[in-house]
Amino acid sequence: MKGSCDMALKLRLKTMIIEECEKEHIKPAEIEDNVLLFSDDSRLELDSLDALQISVALQNQFGVRIPDSKSFRRHVTTINELADYIQPGVQ
């Protein structure tokens, strides 16, 4: 199954981001699947250090290594994009 169709995976990713970035005042359901995580539209208000936290958490929890900031910007855009990167699968 493609990551963006896997609700359990997306919930896990949202929970991970909330925990790693200490945004406990936001509930996973409040993070929309298609909203850019690092943008003014996102309620998360993440910064570059949050990006680093997420990058290391992805490696530790999912075994996914993001080699550089360029790759991070390409794959960690929205929850759907990130889920598809972790779990490409087929729809």
């Binding site: 200490e22 958490a57 530790n60």
Partner: protein, 288 residues
């Protein structure tokens, strides 16, 4: 001689887990400190209590000391790397840097003066006081906010091993801060660190000339028998005992000094030892 203008005590004896300080900090300061850990929260809490409602001059220096530093994060990172082969969290790594707690204290109190972390194998609190004493006397600093921070960790066996204390020692945690100044005006007390370690004969000479009713307090490194021996030899002195319970932690001398300020009027001699020699700090709050 330097002067104490304010003191802040945060001292606890946890039993099973570290107290959640984030909520307490939020209640006290009205702020949420993201990316802070227990050690940093302890530091902010104690410094906040010492500063009180004062607006400190921006150039106030911060001298922070700790016996074990950020030990809970340090052990977590070591385990992640060595046992689980995981990368440390970037925030943990950053917070482990010796002066991260100092950064957060400076940020909380809007200070941009010197920010120093003092470490010493046996006498971290006294050495930080000595550094402040020298800098204030030499006019290098006008005001120093000096804090000793040590955290309690649930892994008591490990903590006792690192501290080199007996298995029965009750451990605690504290963040005790003094606002120091070279000016006497509005001061609460004077404090003086003897810059050299004393032999037992020099200590005996000092104590034999101690004025009547001088209070003595001995660090946790002295056992009950040794303390009784001292008190028998110097009957003109009395033993000071803080009202608030506390467990052992290495920057405990700052808790003792602050407790005396809160409880008593008079002169206190704090005596600590590395097993061979003695380190003395005197405090007086009856002459100002």
């Amino acid at each position: 001689m330097i002067f104490i203008h304010a003191a802040g005590i945060h001292n606890t004896m946890p039993r099973e887990r570290q107290p959640d300080l984030a909520e307490e900090l939020h209640t006290l300061t009205g702020k949420i400190y993201r990316r802070t850990d227990h050690f940093i929260q302890l530091a902010i809490l104690g410094a906040h209590k010492a500063a009180g409602t004062r607006e400190l001059p921006a150039q106030t220096a911060i001298y922070l000391t700790s016996g074990q530093g950020n030990i809970s994060v340090f052990t977590r990172i070591c385990e992640q790397r060595r046992q689980h082969n995981l990368l440390p969290k970037p925030v943990d790594f950053i917070n482990l840097l010796s002066n991260s707690a100092g950064f957060y204290v400076a940020s909380h109190l809007a200070l941009d003066g010197k920010n120093l972390f003092v470490t010493h194998h046996h006498f971290p609190a006294q050495m930080a006081l000595l550094a402040a004493q020298n800098d204030l006397r030499l006019g290098r600093q006008k005001m120093v906010l000096l804090g000793g921070v040590d955290e309690w960790i649930p892994r008591q066996e490990l903590a006792r091993k690192l501290l080199g204390v007996s298995p029965s020692t009750q451990l605690g945690e504290g963040s005790n801060w003094l606002l120091l100044n070279s000016e006497e005006k509005n001061a609460l007390a004077t404090v003086e660190v003897h810059p050299q370690l004393l032999s037992s004969s020099l200590l005996a000479a000092l104590l034999s000339y101690a004025p009547r009713n001088t209070s003595l307090i001995f660090s946790h490194r002295f056992d009950r028998e040794a303390v009784s021996g001292f008190m028998r030899r110097y009957p003109q002195c009395r033993l000071f005992s803080p009202e608030e319970d506390s467990g052992y932690y290495e920057t405990h001398p700052l808790f003792t000094l602050s407790s005396f300020l809160r409880q008593e009027k008079g002169r206190l001699i704090h005596i600590d030892t590395d097993g061979n020699q003695y380190m003395i700090v005197t405090l007086a709050n009856d002459l100002l």
